[in-house]
Point group: C2
Chain length 250, copies 2
DNA sequence: ACTGAGCTTCCACTGAACGGAAGGCCATCA
DNA sequence: TGATGGCCTTCCGTTCAGTGGAAGCTCAGT
């Protein structure tokens, strides 16, 4: 059950994730399942190329060169580009943290995020994956996801805060409402002090291609205005997507 | 002069850049200096892990997993985060494409970019490096760069458009003006139909830490207003940076 | 049917990768 | 002060994974 050098080097890179952005050599080795001496040699090569950076303290972080490379990846590039101006507009009218997300398996993948001055506690980052059942954009994407995906997610609703919905029946009921009303909300289900509203973004073919959401400290007051701002933006994105070949964003 | 497997795999990744975002196997091999069979095997492993994606046509592109990883790289994370809300504000007041950039060697590295609805032809991308002498942010950063860097850049001023400044003396004169007036401008020097204004962003210690710029179709009319909006934003960023430990953004 | 460009597979040889072990460094604790 | 433990670095003899030329494949153009 030996592994190729390449896969070992990649395993070393794979040791980094949103919760482990800086690692000691030994941690990297442990997480990648590699002997220390091997990790040492490989990390050295990766760092020499710029895939890893070594910080003053000796810990490794993902290097600038991988950042460069990553920016070249066509991850929903068309969608992100089409959405970008509408996200700015949305930020302008709501002054709330704005999110653009798609479904990636059973998680929400954040494609873009604009964060404002007022920092409501927001855990998302561009490129991070969060559970679908505890976020606004997640609920939207879940509401329109294929049945098997929905079933899988409903199977294990992990608790994040005291307000996280962990009963499948209650979540199902909410998802029905989302489909009916066209928007989803959360109240401190992912992070205390943060509420959110989200709407679906449809592609030119009518399918839900993404979700658009905002995070605010309180939802009671302005819900109607926020929902309508979101819907205006979502329609704008759909319109832009309609004017480009579907291969660009599908 | 053989090379380690790791360095070969990395060379293969290194074949991708802003001008080569999708490559055939043979192109990758050629650019990386590897025999086809070797490129084939390595590309297969990289693709299996998700570092590369294979597109319908058979061409390779940078994969989603490298995008994920890249997002974890702490590339001026503190600066980007501090600047983010001010960039949005700036977009709100100018409705122009907004850029945040730093100097990387003798190039401008774009850290963030907000693009508006009106698409002035803009060549920059987040993560891309452009020549300093033909961009607004570049001129700002060059004006405050160490002498040896400035000398090197002045040594080869490559022409991009008919308006690109290629005479060292003229550029030097402009840089002097930039230091005096506190802002730089360009007029179609990088891309026809695009003018720009840029100002320095100073760190808490007073050193120029970055440059902030906007791109507009025409500069004659609103220059004063744009410069002042840029300066307001730049000061705001400086203020935010001052309130965090310098290790976070330096 | 022929040509050429690119992709995939095969396999015998070999030198690059391996990793245990030993040693260095620097905290922390008694 | 010396002992302990965690982490990093280097060394080196063994061996097995990586190599790449060559043959064959697919597909498009002519």
């Amino acid at each position: 059950m030996s592994a190729s050098v390449t896969s070992r080097a990649l395993a070393l890179l794979g040791a980094f994730d949103a919760d482990h952005r800086s690692l000691t050599l030994s941690d990297m080795g442990r997480r990648a399942g590699l002997p220390l001496a091997t990790a040492h040699r490989l990390a050295g090569e990766l760092a020499a190329w710029g895939a890893l950076d070594r910080q003053p303290g000796g810990e490794y972080v993902v290097g600038r060169r991988l950042w460069d490379l990553g920016m070249l990846a066509p991850v929903q590039a068309g969608l992100r580009q089409a959405a970008s101006p509408f996200l700015h507009d949305l930020y302008g009218t709501t002054l709330a943290t704005v999110h653009l997300a798609v479904r990636d398996g059973t998680k929400v993948l954040y494609l873009d995020r604009l964060s404002g001055h007022v920092s409501v506690p927001v855990v998302s980052r561009v490129g991070s994956r969060l559970p679908m059942h505890a976020t606004g954009v997640g609920k939207v994407l879940l509401a329109y996801a294929p049945d098997d995906v929905r079933a899988e997610v409903l199977g294990k609703l992990t608790r994040v805060t005291a307000y996280t919905i962990t009963q499948p029946a209650r979540l199902l009921e909410q998802l029905r409402r989302v489909r009916g009303e066209g928007f989803a909300t959360t109240g401190e289900e992912m992070s205390l002090g943060a509420c959110s509203v989200a709407v679906p973004v449809r592609g030119a073919d009518g399918d839900v291609a993404a979700a658009l959401g905002i995070v605010v400290p309180d939802l009671r007051r302005e819900r109607a205005r926020l929902v309508s701002a979101l819907q205006v933006a979502a329609h704008g994105i759909t319109r832009t997507l309609s004017s480009m070949p579907s291969t660009q964003w599908k």
